[in-house]
């Protein structure tokens, strides 16, 4: 009611620091004086960090080989030209020969890299059913609509695993052979294909459907493999802990990459004699060439790399720190000049006063 407003008690406001807006405060002034030390400190710190990063990144050794098979780039071009399209001849293989003049310190990681492959495009990225992959029986039979058109097979069976991501599973395989001295026999280097996926993915997120009579195959009965797959999901690996949805390659693949050029971990080399790294000598990688990328201008690379505390080889961060650091220093100097001039002026003013 409006007319009852008038009669109230004492209207005197509270006299507190908060209500009177007198809270103790720090009032920095953005001027040369205050930013000067900031710039110098930040600059020095960044340059220091940058140098550290730069050297640690430089310490990382990487070997990479583009085996896309573009004409004239090695023996993979044969495989590449042999089968265009989605079903290359299964038995085409090619090799990459290289030699290490010295030890490549371990642990050595084997990556494959795809470029110009848009795993992050929206329609592709959403085309999966996490419920199905977590082993939910109902979701296995009824894949989510997002999986379309890889939701149901032509015969009407639910596809397991459904979706475009699963359908496009990377299916090249590599074996590494080592020759200690020229003329010696090539020995196969054991590739540790376990624990290449995130621990949580492998143990929590991806689960096989409950076994039926102890058999994974029966659990998957009534489903169809994705159209591009040549074998059903339960036959991805003979190892029962690495087959079905918890196949490590599959799990790794299902973690969609952020950028169109990405690498994914294929294996680690840390067993036996190779725990210290790859010793000097000659090597070749036998590549089973299945995955067609030339059609859309993609590239496939195979990479050996060791890692440092800060991850894989990437000189950028070190350089960035150095650049930003030196910019800071530069700005600091500009500020210094300004500060000196301004300070003089200020002093004069003070004198005048």
């Amino acid at each position: 009611m409006t007319w009852s407003v008038s009669a109230r008690g004492a209207h005197q406001p509270d006299n507190t620091a908060f209500t009177q807006q007198r809270l103790p405060a720090w009032q920095p002034l953005l001027s040369a004086g205050i930013t000067l030390p900031l710039f110098f400190c930040a600059g020095l710190a960044f340059i220091g960090l940058g140098l550290g990063l730069f050297y640690s990144s430089n310490g990382i050794k990487e070997l990479e080989y583009d085996y896309t098979g573009n004409p004239g780039t090695g023996n993979c071009s044969l495989c590449a030209t042999e089968g265009q399209g989605r079903s290359p001849p299964p038995n085409c293989s090619c090799a990459w020969h290289f030699s290490l003049p010295e030890l490549l310190p371990g642990p050595v990681y084997l990556y494959y890299e795809l470029s110009n492959f848009y795993q992050n495009n929206r329609r592709y990225g959403v085309s999966r059913d996490d419920a199905q992959l977590s082993g939910l029986a109902s979701a296995l039979r009824h894949p989510a609509n997002e999986c379309a058109p890889y939701q149901l097979s032509a015969t009407g069976l639910p596809i397991a695993p459904c979706g475009a991501i699963a359908n496009s599973l990377f299916n090249d395989s590599f074996t590494l052979w080592y020759q200690r001295r020229p003329g010696e026999r090539y020995v196969e280097v054991p590739l540790d294909r376990t624990a290449i996926a995130w621990w949580t993915d492998y143990h929590v997120k991806f689960r096989n459907p409950p076994l039926v009579n102890g058999s994974l195959k029966l659990a998957f009965s009534g489903t169809a493999p994705p159209p591009n797959w040549h074998r059903p999901v339960y036959e991805l690996s003979p190892d029962p802990n690495n087959t079905g949805f918890i196949n490590q390659d599959f799990v790794v693949w299902m973690r969609t990459a952020a950028l169109p050029t990405f690498r994914k971990l294929y294996a680690r080399i840390r067993q036996g004699n190779y725990s210290a790294g790859l010793p000097r000598g000659a090597y070749f990688v036998n590549i089973t060439y299945n995955y067609p990328v030339r059609a859309f201008g993609g590239h496939k690379l195979i990479i050996f790399s060791n890692i440092s505390w800060m991850g894989g080889k990437n000189p950028f961060l070190g350089i960035a720190y150095l650049v930003v650091g030196s910019l800071c220093i530069l700005m600091g100097f500009v500020m210094l000049v300004v500060y000196i001039r301004y300070q003089d002026q200020d002093d004069d003013d003070n004198d005048d006063e």
């Binding site: 007319w3 009852s4 008038s6 209207h11 005197q12 807006q21 809270l23 103790p24 405060a25 720090w26 009032q27 002034l29 953005l30 001027s31 040369a32 930013t35 960090l49 990063l53 990556y111 890299e113 492959f117 848009y118 992050n120 495009n121 929206r122 592709y124 990225g125 999966r128 059913d129 996490d130 992959l133 997002e146 379309a148 058109p149 496009s168 995130w198 949580t200 997120k205 952020a258 950028l259 050029t261 990405f262 971990l265 995955y291 059609a295 859309f296 991850g311 894989g312 990437n314 950028f316 961060l317 960035a320 720190y321 930003v324 700005m331 500009v334 500020m335 500060y339 301004y342 006063e353």
Partner: protein, 1508 residues
Amino acid sequence: MERELEAAEEFAPPGRRRRPGGRRWEGRMRTVRSSLLPPLGTEDPAAGGPKGEKLLMRGCTQHLADNRLKTTKYTLLSFLPKNLFEQFHRLANVYFVFIALLNFVPAVNAFQPGLALAPVLFILAVTAIKDLWEDYSRHRSDHEINHLGCLVFSREEKKYVTRYWKEIRVGDFVRLHCNEIIPADVLLLSSSDPDGLCHIETANLDGETNLKRRQVVRGFSELVSEFNPLTFTSVIECEKPNNDLSRFRGCIIHSNGEKAGLHKENLLLRGCTIRNTEAVAGIVIYAGHETKALLNNSGPRYKRSQLERQMNCDVLWCVLLLVCMSLFSAVGHGLWVRRYQEKEALFDVPEADGSSLSPATAAVYSFLTMIIVLQVLIPISLYVSIEIVKVCQVYFINQDIELYDEETDSQLQCRALNITEDLGQIQYIFSDKTGTLTENKMVFRRCTVSGIEYSHDANAQRLARYQEAEEEEEEVMPKVGTVSQHGSTGSHQNIRVTHKNQSIKCHRRTGSLAEAKRVSMLSKHTAFSSPMEKDITPDPKLLEKVSECDRCLAFARHQEHPLAHLSPELSDVFDFFIALTICNTVVVTSPDQPRQKVRVRFELKSPVKTIEDFLRRFTPSRLASGCSSIGNLTANKSSHKSGSSFLPSLSPDNMILRLEEKLGQGAPAIASNGYSSQAAQAEGWTPQCTPEKCPRKEAKQQDRELRYEAESPDEAALVYAARAYSCTLVDRLHDQVSVELPHLGRLTFELLHTLGFDSIRKRMSVVIRHPLTDEINVYTKGADSVVMDLLLPCSSDDARGRHQKKIRSKTQNYLNLYAVEGLRTLCIAKRVLSKEEYACWLQSHIEAEASVESREELLFQSAVRLETNLHLLGATGIEDRLQDGVPETIAKLRQAGLQIWVLTGDKQETAINIAYACKLLDHDEEVITLNAESQEACAALLDQCLHYVQSRNSQSTPEYTESNVSVGFSFIPASTSSDSSPSPSLVIDGRSLAYALEKSLEDKFLFLAKQCRSVLCCRSTPLQKSMVVKLVRSKLKAMTLAIGDGANDVSMIQVADVGVGISGQEGMQAVMASDFAVPRFRYLERLLIVHGHWCYSRLANMVLYFFYKNTMFVGLLFWFQFYCGFSASAMIDQWYLIFFNLLFSSLPQLVTGVLDKDIPADMLLREPQLYKSGQNMEEYRPQAFWLNMVDAAFQSLVCFFIPYLAYYDSDVDVFTWGTPVTAIALFTFLLHLGIETKTWTWLNWVACGFSTFLFFSVALIYNTSCATCYPPSNPYWTMQTLLGDPLFYLTCLIAPVAALMPRLFFKALLGSLFPTQLQLGRQLAKKSSNKFHAPKETSAQRQPPGDSATELSEKKTMGPFESLPRDCASQTSQLTQQLACSPEASGEPSAVDTNMPLRENKLLEGLGTQASGPLRPEEAVSVECPGDSRRKPTSTTQPAPLSSLFHLPSIGSLNWISSLSLASGLGSVLQLSRSSLQMDKQDGEFLSSPPQPDQDLHSLQGQATGYF
């Protein structure tokens, strides 16, 4: 029952008769009948057509609202739909819901649909809960009010029973007792008061605390027995409900067909309180929401602030940007799809049916999805945040203790919640004068009676003492005793009025402000009574004359013509004081108990209301028959009998006939007989009434102080003044006024009419019968300009006429003098009416009163007819003191770059002098006065002035041009321009203003006004005020603020961008209309300069930050599109995307938006020019917006590409990469805010910490909670993994730093090299607070280096010394252009000839007497244009009759009065322009023909020497 039936049928014919004419009324009339009557339809079923019509009307009555108050908007059921509907009126909500719904379309969805709805629902829910709560509290208060009790007449029980308010219906009879609140709009039918009066207090309605009088409807007041509702059969026709509090029209149709007019005096309004009346009864006319009080209650106001408008515009830019981005993406996606669709790309997902998606369709889908993904660009939280910030700002303004006025115990109220930031951008202030700049506490200062001036020097001294004492204030408490002694000795001739309250006397003497406060608090409920106003020290000379009159009259009163024994002068003195005492509407009460009526009845019960009344009173038959005080009723009856039996159904024609008849016989009777002294005594004299009665009364008066409740403070001041001369108003009833004089005792005047004050007539009158002479007298009190025109023209032939003329011219001179002193002047005049004249007038007046349709107009005309041929008695000068701190406030506001216009209804001289007093006009600046009498003259004058101003400006070109460019990186250019050479000020009067506001001239007027430093509009009407504001607002596109305190300022307050009401003396109307209500004018300074600046700067920065934040965030997403085939996928998890704005990044900016102080308050007050940043919109201007956007784009580039490159060629997945990007964005936002925040309190730190903590904790919980729940993103354990990754920390460190480096760098560089005024102010504030303990230095730092203020102060101190030599020098070079403007040429009345010289002399004297004041050279460029010959001497302006001087632009500070009265109209203007051209050319080097009049030189020199 039968009787009623009869009555109803009797009523039918007139009803039918008035139908045809009344048809057009039907729409705006309503009919009210007693609810006790059985419904008409059942009563006479056989009624014909008209009955049916009435039935319809009756039906209408039934449908009328009951008295239930229902201010709630919703019911339980309707809440949801209605509230949602209302919320969707806000376009933004529709937009967000649309986007959320878009998510339900599978082809384009970006997020989980439910999730996408969450923020919208959240926002809607918050608003809904707020609305619900508000509605509930409204419901509760409604309930409370609805269940108040009230006595309502019950049909069944045949008596008054208590009912709830809500049960009252239209047509019910209610009975109210003293101090009860009126439940509905009630037509007053009966009152316990024998006069049929009732007093109400309308404080709840309009805040006015004085009692208002209401009258019982005519026809019911004569009832002898108590009013019985059962016998009420009349029908009331009245207006449809409307919200006009000051108007009510209608008529009551009695069962016998008689009609009586109803007016607002009969209506008791809901919400008012019954006072001083035991009990009243009435019929409910309007109930519930149809009551005027509720119709007036429009609730809070919503305005859009300028900043918000600008922001909305920028929001539109953002929408455009959003659409552009989406379009770009869509096209990109289309191309991308086309590129890959044929190539069997493994990542290409075909349609559900296996066919590949066509690029066009893909583009369309992508477009829609992009809009969803980028929706953050239009921040959903923006509006909510702004509202929150504004509410907090309002809270802080309300809480500011510096805006709290102890005296009135009121603080600043923000009535509009959403225009706080407008306070920081005001460019023009339009101020009322009275009550706004001044106290509106009127103090009687001087008066002139019959041409003799009484200067009241002692009174002036007293006032001065009062002021001094006030200044000394509380710390002199121990000295109180001595002060009081001094006071008593000093005022030995201070003759005190007999009945004066002891406490007040003593407090006045001590003069302690604290005491004054206490008393004013105690007597707060009485209007206008500060001790200063009450105690007036009379002028001894005048006092002597008054007592002489008194004695003389006391001696002569038994003789036939007592007044004839007085000399004309003394009789004027006597009349003067009588007029002061009775010509008003002051109600006399005593402070403690309710008003006791003096129960001395006279034979007349009411003012003359009908012709019968008149006949009864003034026919000699009645006089001859004599009268007794109790014979009223019998006389009434006998007159009925003796008159004629047809009187009850008297038609107007008959009455007039009769009247004339009576007059015909009456006149001789009066002549021969007159009144017997006996009769006169019986009627007029009471003190000697009964010996036992009088002492008691005397004794009673000793202990009770009379309190005067006046509608305006002037009235009270005059009554108090008269009381000081022992002419005391002791009682006022509606029909009689009693005045007490020491010797004469109590004189009781029969009050025949009161013609109230209105702003058009500018005067009020009372018609009384003089008890001494038994003549009918009209006393008129009004503005001098009006009253002087209404005087009886006096011939210059006889001595008497010449004498009169002389008196008038003298009075006029004094009036001018008063005006020069800044006093409010009122003229008092009198007219003696003969019976015939009165009868004539009365007849038309009664017609006017009875008319229903154009009652106001007719009454106005009637009043005008009466108030002519007046005899001038004298004039008064009332001082309206300036409020505390007004000059300082105005100076500060002006320093702050605000243009202050004063729009006042006062006369020009008064206004000018108040303007000088409050430093609005400066003595060393020119004043252009615009007084035009016709449209053409006004146009010509405007041209002339424009020309002059421009030529002036062209001479000071450097500053002028600079002022345009003063963007203000330093103090120097911005401030010198405004201060170096003061621009002239403009004074314009109401008539000229009316011309100037015409379409054709408004541009010129505005252009001229813009050039002027301040503008003074005098004599302006409320409408003109609002027109001026509107003009400036629309044409100059400027932010305007209007401040005022009275009802006449309401329109102006409503028109302005910001309306400020002063909750002062004149009620609450201005406050009700305002956006902000301040207790005093001086609080405006802090409100604008501190709070306005803060609010603006805070909100501007926050809005900019909002835009920055969203653009930057959206930028990240946009850059990502280049790497995901423009497919509208987002690397940032949907949760972060949706809640980022709402949760993670909102709190710090809110805290900053609420608490940030760019400059401390004391610094802002010390350097008001800092306010200009808000006026120039420095913080939030378009380039700032775009710069901000560019910076946002840059920052988003950095924040995108640093993680991009850092994670390039790695096995990172989308969301593991997106989360660092989000974190980087958050840190960048916080750091950016850190750069923008000027004041870091612990709240800021907490808010930033909380934001970071919230983000990480939400991320961790979210990433742990469910492995598969949130498709398509699979954030499980992402954050945890990232926290173990050094790369995450490294990117989070470098990206924000790199992004903000340039901003920090440039800000610091600008802050050091080209600091803005604000930054300088901040530096200064910091320095002064650092060196707080070094007072020497702080004082030095008050002026920043190179600050204009230093220069200004230097100049000021130098000023007087320099001016002297210049003075002399310029005397030689001075030039006066005296154009022939003789009265003959302009054809003015001959009276002017005699007046002019006199007035000049007086004026000069007046100037001379003011030598004590500062140097006051009248540097007025007064351009006068007496366009038509009707011009009266009264309206000539102050310096104009003198040789007003034309100012020489080149002679910097020296000023000359240049008389430039123009002969007439255009011709003279041409002359003027020629002369001014000459002056420009010669540059003041040649001497003009007529030398300066000597007096001028003398007076000027005298002043100059006096000054040193």
